[in-house]
Symmetry: C2
Subunit: 234 residues, 2 copies
């Protein structure tokens, strides 16, 4: 019997925001894998740590995780081969995914390499999107709002075009793109209403008006939320 590959949504950061299902799968899997930086701790593993009992084999998939320019194909090829061997040995493999595996998650790279050859199940998790809205204490979208999720790495013109008509918007992966995002929001006249959330639901969570944030780099796990009610964003 081939094992099963799980893409396991473990939630946005607070270990208590894991689902009962993810916890059951996590504890039942023989192998737990997770993305990790080249050296040091894996955020995904840190989120799941209170739920690990030390009996599982752990596989860290190490790479420069937030460097979009780094070619990761070889690393994912190798990881898929490695995890595939575990599955062929009949062992279930749970891949820990921050937030939700299919919401801008790196799990898609393993999924794309393995889904045709092995049984794969994705367990959805609480995404950073709704975790940020909860941290902010304001609805993300309601009624017939159109909600647009825009990655900050897009170029300035694209960012502007995509944000122009949205009633509600989330700008994700802010990181070093903060100054550019701020320019776009100022040009659209919506800087004042924008809210900034960093490390939502973690101990290091910060929530503040974007206008109060110093204009340098934000961490990768940060988000800007906008909501326009009637004519004004608020």
């Amino acid at each position: 019997m081939t094992g099963r590959l799980y893409g396991l949504g473990i939630g946005p950061g607070d270990p208590e925001l894991i689902t009962l299902k993810a916890l059951r799968v996590l504890r039942g899997a023989a192998v737990v894998a997770y993305p990790a930086p080249e050296t040091g701790d894996s955020l995904a593993r840190r989120i799941a740590a209170p739920h690990l009992d030390g009996r599982q084999e752990e596989i860290a998939i190490r790479m420069p995780i937030h460097d979009a320019a780094f070619p990761k194909d070889d690393i994912y090829d190798g990881a898929a081969e490695n995890l595939g061997r575990q599955l062929e040995a009949g062992r279930d493999v749970a891949v820990l995914c921050e937030g939700d595996p299919f919401f801008y998650g790196s799990f898609m790279y393993l999924f794309g390499r393995m889904a045709e050859r092995y049984p794969v199940e994705v367990v959805p998790g609480v995404s950073s999107l709704t975790a940020c809205a909860a941290a902010l204490g304001a609805p993300l979208a309601a009624r017939n709002d159109v909600l647009t999720v825009v990655p900050a790495p897009l170029d300035e013109a694209a960012l502007r075009a995509r944000l122009e008509g949205a009633e509600a918007a989330a700008i994700i992966k802010v990181g070093r793109h903060l100054p550019k995002v701020r320019r776009v929001l100022r040009a659209l006249g919506v800087l004042e209403g924008a809210r900034y959330i960093e490390h939502a639901t973690m101990a290091s969570q910060r929530v503040l008006p974007l206008a109060s944030l110093p204009d340098d780099a934000a961490p990768y796990f940060s988000m800007i939320l906008l909501h326009r009610r009637g004519e004004a964003w608020s």
Copy 2:
């Protein structure tokens, strides 16, 4: 001591997709409230039912829940007053919310009425958005995709305009708007790649190509997902 009002995300349908935090809050609250139709079962209560132990006071907020035209202000005013009395008596109140409270949830109507007067906390949940992607077995959005969430009740021209440029799109609240949505997707040339998901993660879950679905009404809890890779949606 005033009690605390919780907007409790209980996930998309599978009772196992509740978080540990929501479960803790649910079990600790003296009062559990939930939206319900005028007669019959509440979906939110049904999702949480395996986790209720019968010791809590239950308050059903009854109304024609999916009839957008029905004026619900009086009902929400009354519910806010009723729940406010519980809070003033020092009792915590957990409002059960399908999916996530701040992702197109009706909790916003209570939140808007109560957040300034009482301590309110929102516990984020797994939303239908990522649950549908997991059910479909395909990433919702990745890399620098712009993801657009579009409510089906929008008029045909608005639907078309909002869907035109999106790399990834979710059309929510399909219900009786199915024929209109289908016309829009056909006009945009993306009907073939569209996938339809109904009651994600529930026993009644259905996943099929939109083109295979008979052209009559869908249930309210249904979603259409689209993803365009390069030139073609798939």
